[in-house]
Symmetry: D2
Subunit: 361 residues, 4 copies
């Protein structure tokens, strides 16, 4: 962690620019999704910003879960230090051996045994697990295969130093390990915890996961829009400043058209996300399901196109870390897969559309 991060965190907290994501006035900023969206976009311009303002994934989602579903004891133990930015957290859902796009595939188990819950399984892309301040993970596993399809799984709070929890390795994403912050592969072997660590009681994992999704996607997408704006800015500066064949790059070939297309693509996407935020605020997730999937399927691809265009304008430098574009590319690319691949979201958008005309499923 860069030494400047704790300094900036202190400053941000002091100025009240803290927990801006949490739509609760007591613990957070009490902003609606529409109100928070432009702040998330602004944070997207820098990789440091989300942590500085205590608005990093997966903490934001985890804090929301604890805020909405946690018991007072769970809140005291984990939510409060998270809200203060003293600790960080991980989220352990995706598994290497099964297609996680279909969450009912999940193979890890969270078996209730008297007043204990016993966890077993292998998770990966466990975001946040590599952070030096990570103290707790939310683990999702199968509790009762005989229950209704959406009532089989539980979410369990796991202190990361529990016996049986092993970070097997950190996963490189497009060649970047992002140590110590990156995604990990984690095994859970007979991890035995008090039953009280189950959030909201056994079998409610899916229900909780659902509620976590809408706002999280707004956050990701708005940060990507900020990232795309940053890439477009770099592309424009380069186009103006760099000369080849006696002209600024802006005056060569199709470069202006690419810049115009990027401008249009970003502005369209931002409006779509803001509209989705407004629907979430006004009619809730159930009424905004198509929109939430639309932005998830659109915005990462849009951002990748803009970033790639900016890389190309930077020549070799664009591929190095002298400019933040290659890292931005890797980050945005991961978001075409995280939280369900594009294709799953497109499938949902299409199904909702076709159901208007009588298609059954």
């Amino acid at each position: 962690m860069l030494p400047i991060v704790p300094e900036l965190k202190a400053k941000a907290r002091e100025q009240g620019l803290w927990n801006l994501f949490l739509p609760d006035e007591t613990h957070g900023a009490g902003l609606t999704n529409v109100e928070y969206a432009p702040l998330a976009e602004a944070m997207g311009h820098s990789v440091l910003a989300p942590e500085v303002f205590n608005c990093s994934a997966p903490d934001t989602g985890n804090m929301e879960v604890l805020h909405r579903y946690g018991s007072p004891a769970q809140q005291r133990q984990w939510l409060d230090p998270l809200l203060r930015g003293e600790i960080r957290s991980a989220f352990c859902m995706t598994e290497p051996e099964v297609a996680s796009s279909d969450a009912t595939n999940m193979a890890a188990t969270a078996v209730v045994d008297g007043d204990k819950v016993v966890l077993n399984g292998r998770k990966w892309f466990s975001s946040g697990i590599g952070h030096p301040n990570c103290r707790v993970a939310i683990f999702m596993g199968l509790t009762d295969p005989s229950a209704h399809r959406y009532a089989q799984h539980s979410m369990v709070l796991v202190p990361t130093d529990s016996p049986g929890v092993t970070v097997e390795r950190m996963l490189p994403v497009f060649g970047r390990l992002d140590e110590p912050f990156g995604h990990g592969e984690v095994t859970f072997t007979d991890v035995t915890l008090p039953l009280d660590n189950v959030i909201a009681g056994p079998g409610r994992g899916f229900e909780i996961a659902q509620g976590r999704l809408g706002p999280g996607r707004i956050h990701h997408c708005m940060r990507l829009i900020g990232l795309a704006e940053k890439a477009l800015e770099l592309a424009c500066r380069r186009s103006v400043d760099r000369v080849a064949f006696g002209k600024p790059l802006a005056n060569l070939g199709g470069n202006r058209e690419r810049i115009a297309h990027a401008r249009i693509a970003i502005d369209q996407a931002r409006l779509l996300v803001l509209n989705t935020a407004w629907k979430l605020d006004t009619v809730g997730l159930e009424g905004a399901r198509s929109e939430v999937s639309q932005i998830k399927a659109l915005v990462p691809s849009m951002a990748l196109d803009v970033i790639d265009m900016a890389i190309q304008l930077h020549g070799g430098a664009g591929m190095t870390d002298d400019v933040p574009l290659a890292a931005a590319y890797a980050g945005a690319r991961a978001l075409r897969l995280a939280d369900g691949p594009d294709e799953v979201h497109l499938g949902l958008v299409a199904r909702l559309e076709l159901q208007k005309y009588g298609l059954k499923r």
Copy 2:
């Protein structure tokens, strides 16, 4: 003209659904661009609708010009019957021999001679000239080559039965003549008119043309969004109803992804146009130049993609006139060229973007 059109016009007028485009409460509906936009979208679902509600191009633009710049006498003679839907009008700007994307190329002349103005030149894509009720055209020509670049041209009201005005032919657009409504090629040979026919006085043609553009582009784009919605609806219905290889088309190959992409593309584009309308309403054309060009460069292409997808889902029928898709395609394709080709608008968007970073032009 279908006999149903005058019937529907009478009904629309009776119900006050009339001149909805005109942001003036006395002569029109007094709606802002934002308020009119959804009505324009609704009209886009049917080719008849614009005329039925007296909101057809090029009459809308011509009425706005007369409303804002016309003398009382000009308004009495031409604006009033246009507002009543009794006559229709044409707009004669584009020329076959020069690149009209660069309007300063214009070769036709409008020479002041004492209290007369004499018009000469060849125009084409003169929209509206083929309508049986067309009585007046607005002609744009060069008056004073020695004046400032943007003060050289004049707009002149030309009764279509003036001596020297000849409709040489109607122009097919993607094979459709759209007689008697289509675009014409018109010659003006020593057409001599009273100087009073010049709108707002000689040399103000460019200034008037500019003011005409913003709202007109909102109208075109919103109608295209309605057209794209109609195409998506047809695509969905076909996907649900038509069976091949034992399955509805919706369950074959990439069809659902195409429908989802269309849904996303339409929704994004609509938001971009509405945002542009809002900027026009609040900060005016000067502050919305990038946005107005953005929608002009985006929306026709977007609509074409959706319509083409719908055609493909309809198989052979999609190419015929049994479904309105092939005609919709031709109409939308023309709008990638009308009012300046995409490329000119992209160029403007890029220039405004690059100027933020110091590019001179």
Copy 3:
């Protein structure tokens, strides 16, 4: 028909440039697919050329069918005058009410009744039916629903003046009727013909249809490549000759990149078709199934992109019939649907690819 066509036909025949498509030395030119391919490309530059050299669809396919499967009597009656270019023919397979992409859907019937065959059904996109010299149609219908899936249908020679044959209407394709040459909708009502009119005997329709496909697709694709070359030539000429904003269009925006992309796309596509022709010549249709579907799914889209680019460079003129681009667009667009839509061919290509790795179907 333009009067020049019979003149040119006579000239072509005199010079031995006649029936170049037929891989038989006695009746045709005896060329392989690889040898004929560049000639088909050359013919693609002009809409008149295929007829001039007696190489028009659907006659080419029909002549091949008669040559390979026709009885001596059938050949004498129909093949010989077709080879001499005295008559023309139609092909009646596609039906309006069923998805013809799945040919087993076919609803029309060809029922054997003693020494007669009785035809009933409605066909459309019956190519060639509108030609004034059309004398015979090949009709495909269901003969024996209890037979094996691919042995149920028959192909029958139908004199176009047979009682019960009615051309209900000619079908517009993207607004073009192409009278009298276009595609028709044809009903067959109790059309009773001698059993001898069945080609190769009842139940062999699918087998014959299959053999017809490979070379036909080479022909279509090579003509489209010629058409795309013509469009690129027009685009280049326009780019060089037309001036806007003080520069030839070639020096504006992304126009050069578009021209380069077109050059690359055409050259790639040509090589793919030539390679397919070579495979057809050397290993036959069974060994070239993927390739034949690849070109069918690729080449029309490629040609459309090039033509559309050329239209855009021509401005308004590109949409009219002053240049042959809008007509070219309509023709190429139809070929994304004719002979099976792109999606069916992509499905076949994918299946053959996936079967290499164990996928069952």
Copy 4:
């Protein structure tokens, strides 16, 4: 370096699978470009292969330069050990401060001073400089600014241990350092060498660089085709083996269409490269300039599309190094910039096309 590499090298050399790229029978395999192309494709399946067969860039280009332009002494000192695979080499052309797409921008100098040549400048993306066996670099610099535009530069052989040569850092490419093999940033400070180290004499740098380009682009492109084939194979295997929502991925959404498009894109691209190789072999670089630029502008993008599709099908795993796709992506992405960015090559293709119709430049 993996220990297996020297073992495999010995084996390859023993079997005569060595220096396959060199079109000279004495020192290499004596293959034409067309003959070598499929071998380069085969090598593209593995990152180790090029070195194993002594066919790695930049050694291949450097060996060709020495073979064609080197003096007997230069050949003895550097070419022979390179041909034996005992040493490796680097190529130092690109500079960080100027747009290297326009090579006349080059700022580094190679000044002749009596019987010495003195080098100064900063180079980056100096490929091969990080290899532990790298012993010599070819440096390009400005010798005589008063000479003809293409006779100002010289190529100089620089032992990597010469005083004044400093590898400042290795450059990450999309987050991968590829140490010790990667690209370096190298400063040359008053590096003083015998004049005999200049290849073919001062002022011939451009001439030599030109000759180096054609075959090198064939090699790169064919290896990329091999890489794309590997990616497609992985995509297919994953599609067949991985199950989600109860079906193999191959049966979900648009996956089959994506696989078909990849198959078509690879096959087209391969044919284009083979055709270019044939033109190089038969008419030389001058006659194949458009083709060489066509493949350079096409093939990396094509490969990226296929690799990205394969990554998406692999879900999270696709971004890690558990499958070779993310690394393949980084490698292919670099080739959209190396040896001139796509845009420069598209510009050349367009210019040659437009010159057919009279455009001057």
